[in-house]
Symmetry: D2
Subunit: 324 residues, 4 copies
């Protein structure tokens, strides 16, 4: 995530402080200009500046996977060249978005990049936002040495297994990373190499611990933490438009992210304040932050959407009866 200053510009000092904090808490790498980083809401020159800062500040302590998607193939390749110069370890490139492209087009797009990029390329599959990259296409793309891995945010465990089954035999070095930390431990158990997650930007200690426990075969402990991470994840993902919930959580960890570039309405500001209180309670349970002074209500899971609808229905009925 990219902190913004009072005038909505990249807050460089805070971004550097955030990079240090993440590295110190044990992340294995950094992925700027991803979906959580709101790459589409920055200009091309801002995107370059973000990568430059992160590479400088990481200073080789951890590798940087630089989000490099630009408006078209030529500009994406130029970004690859620039990020190679900045010292990024590899780039991650999201499948073309806006238009919904066929597998053939997705293949042609990445093939062109694979042929010209001076830096290793990770595919980024996020079917809820961009054209899906299917298993046969990934298999065809894995024939290019420049393509070294995939980040998959579909959250579909069977899809990941199909992918590993199809690609690993021909490319034992190919990296499989999940972007769906809700099921990180199961993903690792089926053979994923790791994850690049929004949640790692919020509780890097926790996701690192999940990884280490799973690697050590301490599945039961890992799974218990996975359940607790899921509660946090759901609160961040489903209580606000992505990635506002993650931004709210990072602020609780002590960073000034500033106003989002996507404006909030009045009712959204109210919701965000309520979400912030809830997140503080969840994070306090982990010991990452203080609990709110006013205390935390017992968390009995999500208030049922049905109950919400029922409440709303009653209110609306009353309003209607009064002639609204």
């Amino acid at each position: 995530m990219v902190p913004l200053d009072d005038r909505g510009r990249i807050h460089e000092d805070e971004l550097r402080r955030y990079v240090d904090w993440l590295v110190e808490r044990g992340v294995h790498g950094l992925y700027p200009n991803g979906s959580t980083g709101e790459f589409v809401r920055f200009s091309p020159s801002e995107r370059r500046r973000i990568i430059e800062i992160v590479c400088q500040q990481a200073a080789g302590r951890v590798p940087v996977l630089a989000g490099a998607a630009e408006a078209n193939v030529r500009e994406t390749i130029e970004a690859c060249e620039t990020y190679a110069g900045f010292g990024a370890r590899a780039v991650a490139i999201v499948s073309p978005f806006y238009y919904k492209l066929s597998p053939e087009s997705v293949y042609a797009y990445f093939r062109e990049i694979a042929r010209h990029s001076p830096i290793d390329v990770t595919l980024y599959n996020i079917p809820m936002f961009a054209s899906p990259i299917d298993v046969p296409t990934i298999k065809r793309l894995a024939e290019f040495e420049r393509i070294v891995g995939i980040k998959d945010s579909s959250g579909d465990l069977a899809f990941m297994m199909r992918l590993i089954a199809a690609v690993r035999p021909m490319r034992p070095d190919f990296a499989f990373l999940t972007g769906w930390e809700a099921v990180l431990v199961p993903m690792l158990l089926v053979g994923c190499d790791g994850g690049t997650h929004a949640t790692s930007g919020v509780v890097p200690e926790l996701t690192r611990k999940l990884f280490d426990l799973t690697q050590a075969g301490r599945i039961d402990e890992a799974m218990k933490l996975q359940y607790r991470l899921l509660e946090l994840f759901d609160a961040m993902v489903y209580s606000a438009d992505f990635p506002e919930g993650f931004r709210a959580a990072v602020e609780l960890r002590g960073f000034h992210l500033g106003q989002s570039r996507q404006p909030l309405s009045e009712s959204q500001r109210i919701d965000r304040a309520a979400l912030s209180r809830l997140l503080q309670c969840i994070l306090a349970d982990f010991g990452y932050v203080e609990a709110p002074k006013e205390g935390c209500p017992p968390r009995t899971g999500n208030l049922s959407q049905d109950r919400i609808n029922q409440i709303a229905a009653t209110v609306i009925q009353t309003l209607r009866e009064r002639g609204l």
Copy 2:
């Protein structure tokens, strides 16, 4: 729609009275055992009885299009035979549902029926509930003389045009009926022969008038009525699980439909009562029923879902702050 008595059985007298009422108000035909008729909620023998009653009561005044879908091809063909015997003019058969079948399977299913049915068959395409029947499949099926038409409830005007363009040249007699009365007039203008609609069971005078005006080339008048029908339609479709809104409206026209076979929860009963008041107001504007004594609030369109969410959010926030 099928009236039920106090014990949840088919209320035969009321069904006969309803048939008379519809015929007297000008419907060109009757379509029992359709989606609005909740055919899936009746047993095979009840479905037969419904067709029998409707055929008897129609008594040749208007043709009966009998919904004949049963659990499998063999039983569907047996129903076709039975309904031929009852004097139905044709049967309508919905595409296989529950499983989502491929076009090839849909084709094989209807081909089998086309080969053995002793009565003309109308295809029924309702992709929101059943396996879709695509244009190439319909074209292939139109090669069978027994298949004489299609009822399409997709509501997609371009789909209907593609269908007419593909089939009419080879089968000038093939009937194209729309099941999406929200756009009945435009459907007729692109060449549809007519409609078989839920709304015709509620305001048969109105849909008949729409048809007649359009046939007469009085497009402006037709379109004004179409807009008013749309308000009624939206209220019936979107304010309750289908087809409960239509059942509520038919009761306002003076029929006792009884308790639905799909049970309602407490909050749904409240919603249904509110919907009933709204429908009474809309129907009163047409002059079909009396306005409610307590009067009708100005109808400024749907209360915005956003506003609803806002209201709900405020209520919920309050509840949360109180420790719920």
Copy 3:
């Protein structure tokens, strides 16, 4: 799956032989009248007969979970009564289908059943075919003692975790069963109690072994088998309209299932024969059947859909150029 005889009727002897075979190979229970059992393609009396036979033949060796969904609540409850009399251990009831019902309606439906069923009820969530049952609704339904578990065929691991997190604290006895064996081992690892699977009707030895290995903490072995099961599963699920691929596989295991009640077109018969050869090769690798005499080609994963499209495009282009 239900064997049919030459005239399309239930082949009772073969069904009894199949039940014995399954029990002998170690299944923990039987689930007739499920989706794989094509319950919607049988008449109400056939569905009763199927349960009767299975209960008789199981003869208490393993519990029977009887699919009891009928056309409406009243008839479903009557089926529950009948199946209790047959000695079923519990019933499984799929969420209402055809219409897409709201959570409130799904709740009202199951509540009615919970109040009147004389036998324990398992919810059956299969959102690709029927109205989804969401977590809050399941939580509300878990307040009824009669509702003792859920079979979830969504295949979404995070959904299963949310469900367990929401319900297990209040109902430690509630059973969580997955219907998506593609990820059976991960499901068991997050706390699922077991599975009720189509694949268990084909290779009961294999799914039992997966279960036992996972219970024993031999995760690596379990996962290797899980990958092999996935290849079989994908072939059965994606090479024909469900559940025809499973029927083809059971025939390879030595049972005469007869013609499906859903007719096949000529091209589908060809596809099914090709699928059967492929399945024979996969099953032969496990040692369950002999390999085909003509030998098995190396299986390099699925032939890419892109390649298929390419091949098709070339063929079609040629046809077009010849004036077709």
Copy 4:
């Protein structure tokens, strides 16, 4: 659409020639930087240059509706300012894309723009590519004078009617434009003011004629042309990834569009050549271009997708049997 030169840059002379051609053939206005114009595949400075050229070349003969969506609200507002300076009549702004935003966020986004734009704003709803803008949100936004209309590419006639019913009473000046020319005539008949269409960039004479005939009440003639337009439209939309089919057609009209910025694979080049021949045949029927020398096969509608699958299945089976 924006012509590109041999090096992939904006081909300014050809773009000017294209603008002249469109104006001379009777378009009522120009909409650069729309979806068909591939705005997302150009850089911010290229997008500005495109608007500048089009405004200059239009030279007041027809109004320019300038696509102004940029990476975030601030940059979008800056583009509005620039385009006002270029002499654009209004801007069109697509709903935020990539992320799927809630109605509240969509509202907050457009409200911010409405408050600061120095030029009139048209909303652009294209739910297949961007966050949908629902009726209540449009109604709320219509309270801002700066927002003067909507382009809706949903193709849903009932949606357009709901929109007109909700907004026209409060804002009689609000413009309703459809982006789904497959049903242009019906859209005009329900009260749409006009359309902004991809197809108008290919056959401006035709879409203009459709408009004029409908305005003149010559519905039958308009509808016949609408059917012919549909055949052309379907060929352009469904035979290649959007908007490549439209680019192929514009080239047939005599413009050099150059290589698309989205690369094509080998099989796509073959498909595009086949599509080009088909389009030439369709355009020749209208008299817009010469028929291909090798002649046109009878067009019996689309080759059935089922037949395609059948052909492909046979080919694949053969390949499999040969050990592929």
